[in-house]
Each structure stands twice: as C-alpha cells, then as structure tokens.
Assembly symmetry: C2
C-alpha cells in the first residue's frame, strides 16, 4: 500500500483528487487530502473510503513534518511560494514530491540535495507549464529523429470560456487565480525572431499582439508570455533563430485590458491613500488629471485613446469602473482593487464551461524542404468545478503520480516532463480524457 499526500485542496485540485481516488482501489493507494480548511479537503474526498481529509498548515513545522513523514509520495498544490518549504521537508524525509508549478531559482538550489537524498522532485506537471512541455517535446523529438532542423517555434496557450458560456463583453471568465490575471505580463517579455532578440516592457506588451485561428474555435489574439528565451535551453533548441510563447485571449480583450495597464491600475507596488472610502469611479479618476468639470468617462477617453473605441468603452462600463460604489478595501494596492472587481464580474456560473486552448507551430528544414507542423489542442470544461483548467492542470500530475507510484519513473533530483519516459505515457493517457493534440503538416512555399 502507498500513502499519497495532496497538500492543498484549492481551485485546480478537483480532477487530480478524483483521478487518484478512482485508481486507489486498483493500486492499493490511500489518498490524504490536506488543507488549512479541513472542510474544503473533506468536500474533495467526498466520502470515498480510500480518502481522508486532514487539516494542514505548512507553517506548523512539527505537524507538517509528521504529516509528510507518514506519506510515500507528496503532491504540493499549495501556493507557489510555499513549495520550497515542502521540498525542504521532502528531501529531509526522503519523500518523492510532485507539483504543477515552475522550477524557480530558489527551488533549483534543492536539485543537488534531492539527488543526494535519492528522491525525485517532479515539477511543471500542469498545463502551462506542463502539457506545453510534453506536447512540444513530442513534436521536437519527432522532427529531430527524422533529421530536421527547427527554424522557429511559436507556442500559444489560453485559459478562456467556452463559446456556449461566453456571455460577457470581455469574452473572458476566471478559471484560475485572479491575482495572476491582474498581474499577467508584468516585467519584461523576451523572445527571439530570426536571430534578433526582442524585449517588450509591460506597458507596451498589449500593443504588440498576434492573431491566430485555432481549430474550430475561431479567432484569438496573443501577447508575448514573459521569458521565451529560457525555453530554448529547456527544449534543447539553443540555436533556434525564432522562439516565441504567447498568451491567448479573445479578440478585443487585450485592447480593453490595456486601458487599465495604461492608467497604472494594475500596479501592485504601492498602496492607495484612503482606499477604504474610495468608489470605483474615484479609483479610475485617481490615475488622471484633476479636471473637476470633465466627467471621468470623457477624461478616460482622452487619456487612453483606445477607451474611445466604443467596443472597448462598452467593456469598461460593463465592468463597473465608473460606478459610485465603494470598493471597501482597506489599504489596498491598485492591483488589489482591480482583482476584487474582476473576481465579481468574471466569475464562472455553476453550469459555465471553460475552454483551454494550446497551439504549437514549428517550422523546420528537412533536406531542401521547409515544413510547418501545427499541433493544437482544445478542451472544454463541464461546469464551474470540473473545469478544463482543473483537468489539464490535475490530470498530468495525477498520471505522473501513478507512474511514480508504480515504478515507471526512476529519477532523482528536479525534473520537468521533457524526457520521453515521462511525456509519452502521460500524453497517451491524457487522450482518454479528450486532452489530445491534432497535428497537421504543411510544405512551406519558399518562393
């Protein structure tokens, strides 16, 4: 028997927990779901005799030590900044660990220790990062095996709302951490095109979009997704002339969101004076010139040109940014105010279906020919709980856990799912859950 411990029972854990419980009998697993909110953990276990819900607080050193000591495998679904506390304990107690989060510089330092302890720390096992790596490496290795030379790699991912549930002017609803949606794109975005390094600062990011049609889902817009350059090394494409990763939104979203960016309303580095007594209208007004005789709506259209586009203006108005309604947040940053607003307005209704879309585009040279492979995937959720986001984040992680528990992965140290022994069985099993990539290949006309 194996004890599998899941730390955290939040948003993206539904499918992960379901999978493990469903397979618990077959593999003689015992599934412990641990959360600071025991009731939440209990709801996820849902009375399954193979499961158990417990209270867990990573900051309670002794208790978390004890809990981890009892497990055979640890899956951390805690907020990303907590992973290194978990990793530290897993190394000391020699417990394999899995997570869907990024390999940060902080975590990287545990690689040597994990190797010495003889345990694997398998990371980036969700959707982005996760399925993006696996599906990309699958194509990359295919091209390399037949002797092709990869010229460019463009990759796009978006967590959106399915067409049938798409009933707001932003064509967007929240399927993950709203804070990450507010902060999306902060910092600089880096990529390379035909050997030219390109850098886009945050406040220009939403000016520089690409458009794509994907599968039968119509049109999308994409903006650059942070540091695309670092993926060259991860994917073994160190000398690739063009490499770009983008985030997908429905057409029009980016132009409207850019109004908030241009105002400075997504800033999380300072606190607004007296935010408690501010209305949403005051909030928007605080970023613009003092002109008491001009209505905020008009000022905004003068200050951010794109706000004078009626399609953009409708989106802004629908969000309620001109309302004289109190925000009711003490000592808040601008980003926190915006987060509160979108959390209300972009909420998934109980029966809403979300949509997860991913597309990779490879150009490669084989002999005298230049070819293009487009590999695309789309998955719709079932409802507010069984989201495409929860499935694409949770299932690869669950399958990796199964592979580990059944001895099919033998690694030590920190790993992303970029090796065939990991991505092949995971991609194969994901197809059963309708997570599958449709691959098309073209000959590129070079004339």
């Amino acid at each position: 028997m194996k004890d599998i411990l899941i730390l955290g029972a939040g948003l993206s854990t539904t499918s992960l927990i379901e999978y493990l419980l469903e397979h618990a009998e077959e593999f003689d697993w015992h599934i412990v779901v641990a959360d600071i909110d025991e009731e939440l953990a209990r709801r996820k276990v849902n009375g399954n005799p193979r499961g158990k819900a417990i209270t867990f607080d990573i900051h309670d050193d002794l208790e978390s030590w004890r809990t981890i000591a009892k497990a055979d495998i640890v899956i951390s679904m805690l907020p990303a900044f907590m992973h290194h506390f978990v990793a530290k304990k897993c190394i000391d107690l020699r417990k394999p660990m899995l997570t869907a989060s990024y390999v940060t510089d902080e975590i990287k330092e545990f690689d040597e220790l994990a190797r010495k302890a003889g345990i694997p720390i398998l990371m980036e096992l969700g959707v982005d990062p996760g399925i993006d790596h696996m599906s990309a490496m699958n194509v990359i290795n295919g091209i390399k095996e037949k002797g092709g030379d990869i010229l460019s790699f463009y990759s796009f991912t978006g967590g959106l709302v399915a067409p049938e549930s798409d009933n707001n002017p932003w064509n967007y609803k929240l399927t993950w951490n709203p804070r990450n949606v507010v902060m999306a794109g902060t910092g600089v975005s880096k990529f390379i095109q035909q050997g030219n390094y390109k850098y886009i600062p945050y406040f220009r990011l939403f000016d520089r979009i690409q458009t794509r049609k994907i599968l039968n889902y119509g049109e999308f817009e994409a903006y650059a997704n942070r540091d695309s350059l670092s993926y060259r090394e991860i994917y073994g494409l160190k000398n690739i002339p063009s490499m770009y990763r983008g985030t997908l939104r429905r057409p029009g979203f980016v132009k409207a969101w850019n109004v908030f960016v241009q105002l400075g309303a997504t800033d999380d580095t300072y606190r607004l004076e007296d935010s408690e007594n501010m209305t949403y209208r005051d909030f928007i007004n605080s970023f613009m010139q003092y002109e008491p005789t001009v209505p905020v709506e008009i000022k905004l259209q003068n200050y951010c040109r794109s706000a004078s586009d009626p399609v953009v203006f409708e989106k802004l108005k629908w969000l309620g940014i001109f309302d004289k309604r109190k925000i009711g947040l003490k000592n808040a940053t601008p980003a926190e105010v915006l987060q509160k607003l979108i959390k209300e307005k972009w909420k998934l209704d109980p029966d809403d279906k979300d949509l997860l879309v991913m597309q990779h585009e490879f150009k490669y040279k084989l002999g005298d020919e230049v070819k293009m492979i487009v590999s695309a995937m789309a998955l719709e959720g079932e409802n507010q709980e069984q989201t495409a986001m929860a499935k694409t984040v949770g299932l690869p992680l669950a399958i990796a856990t199964k592979l580990l528990a059944t001895g099919q992965i033998n690694k030590t140290g920190i790993h992303r799912p970029i090796d065939k022994d990991m991505y092949e069985p995971i991609l194969t099993e994901l197809k059963r859950y309708d997570i599958c990539f449709k691959e098309t290949e073209y000959l590129v006309d070079q004339s």
Copy 2:
C-alpha cells in the same frame, strides 16, 4: 581644536571641502578628506596645511572604525546606500554625523539609538533634499505666523545647464550621477490636488507636464517628482488640499526622453543578451518589432509617435542612438547602455557653467483674501568643477557643520533642516554665495 572627517571626495564635494578649509584657521579645525581613491582626496585638499587626505574603505571595518574614532564630526558624502554603515559606527562612537542624502526607512531606525547616544544625525542638507526644505519652511512658517491658511504648495527644482553653455539640442548636461538621470521617475509619482489623490505610473509620467517661467531664465517644463504626499507631514501641512513637487527640464527634453521610456530602454531590471556585441542601433531595434525591410529610424517613428516630431527626432539622432557603433558593455541592462551614452554626450566641458533652479509657489488664505507667494532661486556654476550643483549641495552642509562645531545646533537623533534654528542661519549665510530666494506676493483674483 576640532577634527572634521569628510567621507568621500566625489562630484559634489568641491564646495563643501573648500568652505571647511577656508574656515579652518578661524575655528581651529583640522579637515580630513577620506576616499577610496586617495589621489582624488589629495586633489581636493589641494596642499592646504589644515587639510589631510587619507584612503578610506567603509567595508574595511577595523580601519573605518579607527578613522571615525579620531574625528569629532563626520560628514558622509559616500553613495547613499553606504550611509547606514557610517551611521552605525557614528552612533557606537558617539560622533555627530551629517549628510546631504535622504532619510530612508533603513536610516530612520537609528533615530532612537542616536538619541540614546546623545548625537545628532543631520540629513537632507544638500539642495534637493536640503535647500528645498529650508526655503519652503521659511515661507510656510512666515504664512503661519501671520495666521494664513495654506491652500496649495507647488515646488519645482532642476539641475540644468546655464544659457551661455547650452549648446546641445537637449538643452541639458550632467551635473550629478548619470544613473539617477536615467532612472529618474521610476516607480509611481503621487500628489494631491484639491483633496484628490493622484497617481502617475512611470510610463505616463512624461506625458503629464506643467510649464513654468522662472526668474529671467525663460520657460521650463516639469514632471511630478515621486512621492509628494510624504512632504505634507515633513512640512507640517497634513491637511493641505494641493501638494505637488516637480522636476524641471528645458522645453522639449521630456518629450524626447519619453521615447526611451516608451521603448523600455530605461529598464534596469534585466540584462540584455549578448550586449557586448550590440551596436546602439541594435539596442534601439531590440525594443521594436521584427521588420527587416524597415529602417530602425522609421520603425521608431511608427512605434513612438513623439519620435516623428522632427524636433524630437533631431535630439535622438544627435545622441547617436542610430549609430552602428558597438556599445562594448558586457551583460548590461538597458539602463546601463543608456547611461553610457548620455555620460559621453551630456558631459560638461571644462568651462561649462551649470544652472540650478528652484521655485516654490504657495497659495494661502488670510481673512477674506487669497494670496500667492512665489519664491524662486537660480544659481549658475563657474566651470566643470565649481558647479552650481556642488555649491548648492555642499554649502548648506558645510554651514550646518560650522553651526554644529560652534555649538549653535543642539539636537540628538535624526533631523532634517526644517526647524528655524537650522534653516535661518543657513539661508542667511547662503546669500553670501548668491544662493538667495526672490520672493514675490500677489493677490489672487477669486472671481
């Protein structure tokens, strides 16, 4: 006899050291100038028998301990981030300390310790911060004494180049740390107008300018200078409805500089790939779209609208940003590249005179009348060494040192020069050096 120790002999110390050496005989002072570069210290002492040059490294704990132990008064002209090391030692050794730098949160924590040690740490004794505080408090206390109620306070300062030495299209030359010029305005700028809090993010700061005519120096443009709100408490104006501090530049500078801001070329948070082999032209190109058939000049005019203004474009071209000349900096941030360029191009020639301008504007209510006081100062330098910047930074500090050495300041703990016992004698003596404010008062028409 008193031993006065000056730590650092850099850019802004010329007038400070001269003043102290000139008064050394009269007050029986011995002046020790300490710098990591002993030769630089020696040049500043210039053979004066009352002076001595020594090597000094704040990171050499034992040696710096010994050096400070020998002094009666310590003036720190080291880079701002080093002041807290000096302050720590001054407290332990019970030596009064003076500096021209800001009271940071880090330094603030020493207030209690300095009080207990019975020593003063007198800070913000340069020009901005420094003369701005003194001249403002002089007017503020004047208004309060006659029972006036201050309605608004606008304050502007600029370090520029004097008209007779003004021979480049930017109408600007460097008189202080070029890094600070590149980074000017980063973060958010905060102020209050008619009771309305206003916030401007960095990338919109140079869009929102005010214009002023000051004394006989013609027109200037101003952009908001970081956190004006915090000055309300410092100046005892907690409930003032309008408070704004601005930085002065000659008309046209801000619009052209904004092109670099809009590109992201002032970013100091990441390092450019292969910057060593980049030309300035590549540098500019790296912030714009890949369009190999369009020249960088045209792309820039399309990407940053203001660059298509021929007056702006001439400034950019003059700086050499389109040159195919190698930058020659390894592993540089964009800000470092820009800093290297302006250091070359905006250098003061040996006989160049700089210009320091400051203007305060107060509106206040007295009985039924609303009045306006404008208090303005301008000072020109003599040459590359005897700059207005060095005088306005160094002289208030030197005079404060004299007041302290002669027992006319009796304080313990951390202080800015906002009390009459400090600002009155300093402002009075500064007049002898042509640093004096011209005050005019108007009646404001309220109809």
